[in-house]
């Protein structure tokens, strides 16, 4: 099965081509079925590959063909199959399949149905290339491909202004990050002479520490763009302008985790590169708490989830930074399930309310949409890290490693973030599903979504419940550790005391419960009343509602400056470069105008000119000849 690993991206690619070429005119509703079946087949192959790796298959490189061969430089289209990539393949294909099925219902009445599934298939193809690639160059192809699809799908409803502005913002910010990736990739090539993961990681010791630090920081900068970390996070909340399944698939479960995967994949470099991992961990922790505080005060249900995603991605980078790549990938996988579920659940609510996203107009919906409610409740519990749901095991693994490896500050930030997380998820769930309906017109028309949408919710909910305990128990020695651990050999192998682990788990569960209780107290019993709290905290509340004014800061300090600089360049181009070209043309036109008068149109004049010219030549030649002969 491993030799057939290229079938996995081949199915979505075929679906992309079929839907793209024939979808709009002939296939219509069939595009959704074709795309879903294709991704389903990919998922089956991915399961096969995963089982084979599980059965002890060696790390394998499956080369499709040589892509570039110039002198000593060779780059192939080749897949690296090892535990890490097989886990990623499995998560991407399974979650994608469920979201594809769901989209058949969610996008049913959209006139861009065929276009939607075309881009979505292309996205899955690019994402699979990204996680399969055996070198940085091919990975970059997937990296750019998912960025492109993200742009296309955020701007899916381009008739309205907000989506295409958001799409442009996402694309530009991702390009800034890609600049970092490119620098890192080129430096890798200059230092190691190869871009293959295997080659590079085997020769880490030939690079100086300065080189490695440059490489790692550049790659990490690329990761902050793709995975929405500080300072390049602000495109992700705006990306919620896209259709909700896109938010679930691209901006929660798969694409935004590409940065985490990149850093995890490059772990041998990062471990050798001195302070790089500390930078990764610190940025992750700061992003986690930063985004969680913004999520506290959002009223758009999708924005809450978006900031939550930024925050959870921060946890993953925190995990990478404290030397727990296994926990990072574990959290990536569980997060893919429960956050996709939260988004799809939000989508189900939005669908049932005819497009309303403002939580202030919801309330009491649990009676109207029981399936959505129960599945989202499980996902919310997982996000708040309640045992035995998936989020608990992965988040606890991260925080435990942070504590055990001595990163107490990062651990403390993680615990505080856990309280905030539990609070905002409680708030969102309460405002949406409990209490009295705040908008009776919306409430009366609310309806549960069709089975094509609720079945994926149930499937994801099953994953949310069992995934953590299945692969993450017992902590530090669970399946995921024994399976992924060997990929990251060199990691500190000592297993902490059981008592320590239990204590840490109790602390993080207590943090989650504290957040939930605070949320319930504020929103159920109004003690203290949320409105009063926001009034009392005055400027701080305004700071949060305005998202720390980061967008305004970027606009003022960066976008405007760049715009002014390019305005000056534009003026130079118009007045100096174009002016010069125009002036030369003007001189030519003037000369032509003067010479034009010679063309009188009278044939006699032309004939006379010819004869006169002939005479001049004759006289000149005659004089010359005579001169020659007399000498």
């Amino acid at each position: 099965m491993i030799q057939n690993v290229w079938l996995i991206p081949a199915f979505p690619l075929a679906a992309f081509l079929i839907n793209g070429l024939f979808g709009r005119r002939w296939l219509h509703k069939w595009t959704g079925i074709i795309a879903s079946v294709a991704v389903g087949l990919s998922a089956l192959v991915a399961i096969g590959v995963f089982l084979e790796v599980l059965g002890g298959a060696e790390r394998t490189t499956v080369t499709l063909y040589e892509w570039i061969g110039v002198g000593d430089f060779h780059s192939s289209v080749a897949a690296l199959v090892d535990p890490l990539s097989s886990v990623m393949l499995l998560v991407v294909t399974v979650v994608s399949f469920l979201i594809f099925v769901y989209s058949n219902g969610y996008m049913e009445h959209d006139h861009g149905f065929a276009r939607f599934f075309t881009w979505l298939s292309l996205f899955v193809f690019a994402m699979l290339i990204l996680v399969m690639a055996d070198n940085y160059l091919l990975m970059f192809v997937g990296w750019e491909g998912v960025g492109l699809c993200s742009y296309l799908l955020i701007g899916f409803w381009f008739e309205r202004p907000e989506p295409y502005v958001a799409a442009k913002k996402a694309f530009v910010m991702n390009r800034i990050g890609d600049w970092g990736y490119t620098i890192g990739m080129i430096t890798i090539f200059l230092v190691f002479g190869s871009m293959q993961f295997v080659d590079v990681f085997e020769h880490v010791d030939i690079a100086t520490e300065a080189n490695l630090t440059l490489i790692c920081l550049a790659l990490f900068f690329g990761a902050t763009g793709k995975s929405a970390q500080l300072p390049l996070y602000s495109w992700l909340p705006d990306a919620m302008e896209g259709p909700t399944p896109v938010s679930a698939l691209i901006h929660a479960a798969t694409m935004v985790t590409a940065g985490v995967y990149l850093v995890a994949r490059s772990m041998p470099l990062f471990e050798a590169a001195g302070p790089s991992l500390q930078v990764v961990g610190t940025v992750g922790a700061v992003t986690a708490i930063f985004a969680a505080t913004i999520a506290l005060v959002q009223f758009d249900i999708k924005r809450v989830m978006a900031y939550s995603t930024v925050s959870q991605l921060g946890y993953m980078f925190l995990a990478l930074g404290v030397g727990a790549p296994v926990a990072a990938i574990f959290h990536l996988a569980t997060h893919a399930f429960f956050k996709a579920l939260l988004f799809l659940g939000s989508g189900s609510v939005i669908h049932g309310l005819g497009g309303e996203q403002d939580m202030r107009k919801m309330g009491g919906l649990r009676r109207k949409m029981p399936v959505t409610f129960w599945t989202m409740l499980l996902a919310g519990g997982a996000l708040a890290a309640l045992p035995p749901l998936a989020g608990f095991w992965s988040k606890d693994a991260i925080l435990a490693t942070a504590f055990v490896n001595g990163h107490l500050a990062l651990w403390a930030v993680g615990i505080v973030t856990a309280v905030l997380t539990a609070f905002y998820v409680t708030r969102a769930m309460w405002m949406t599903f409990y209490g009295e309906p705040r908008d009776h017109h919306l409430y009366d028309h609310a309806h549960e979504s069709p089975a094509v949408m609720t079945l994926p919710l149930i499937a994801l909910a099953v994953g949310t419940v069992v995934l953590g305990i299945l692969v993450g128990f017992p902590p530090e020695q669970g399946f995921i550790d024994t399976f992924l651990g060997p990929v990251f050999e060199g990691e500190g192998g000592h297993v902490p005391e059981v008592a320590t682990l239990v204590t840490l788990a109790v602390v993080s569960v207590a943090a989650g419960l504290l957040g939930i209780l605070a949320g319930l107290s504020m929103y159920v019993r109004h003690r203290p009343d949320p409105a009063a709290v926001s009034r009392a905290s005055g400027p701080f509340y305004r700071l949060l509602v305005n998202k720390y004014f980061i967008d305004e800061l970027y606009d003022r300090r960066i976008v405007d400056v760049i715009r002014a600089a390019f305005g000056a360049m534009w003026a130079f181009d118009i007045h100096v470069i174009d002016g010069l070209a125009n002036r030369i043309g003007w001189v030519a036109a003037l000369g032509g105008g003067a010479l034009r008068r010679a063309q009188t149109g009278i044939v006699g004049n032309y004939a006379l000119t010819i004869v006169a010219g002939l005479l001049v030549i004759l006289v000149a030649y005659g004089g010359y000849a005579v001169g020659i002969f007399t000498r």
Binding site: R596, A598, Q599, T600, G601, I602, V603, G604, A607, V611
Partner: protein, 103 residues
């Protein structure tokens, strides 16, 4: 007694200048074409005379005269076609009247 070369050249030159003068002073396009023909034949006469005088084998120089016949025939064909289409455009063959090409 052979006619001296200079006599041929003199006749040729006279014919050539008559032709040139015709091209310059006449305004009827057809006459101008005839004058051009006169100039070409003046050249032919000179070429034949030189060939007779200087060519060592079989007066090969007169081959050029054949070339000029061909060129002259082509020139007349094209020239008359132009004159004809100009005439259809405006019913005149006076070259001073045909001034559409003025710059």
């Amino acid at each position: 007694m052979a006619v001296p070369l200079g006599a041929f050249i003199a006749v040729s030159a006279v014919l050539f200048f008559i032709g040139t003068a015709g091209v310059l002073v006449r305004r009827n396009a057809v006459v101008i074409l005839m004058s051009v023909e006169l100039m070409l034949n003046a050249t032919n006469l000179a070429l034949v005379a030189f060939s007779r005088r200087y060519s060592s084998i079989d007066e090969r120089g007169s081959v050029f005269v054949v070339f000029i016949f061909v060129v002259a025939a082509a020139e007349v064909a094209v020239g008359l076609a132009i004159v004809l289409s100009a005439y259809r455009n405006r019913p005149t063959v006076d070259v001073d009247e045909i001034r559409q090409m003025r710059g």
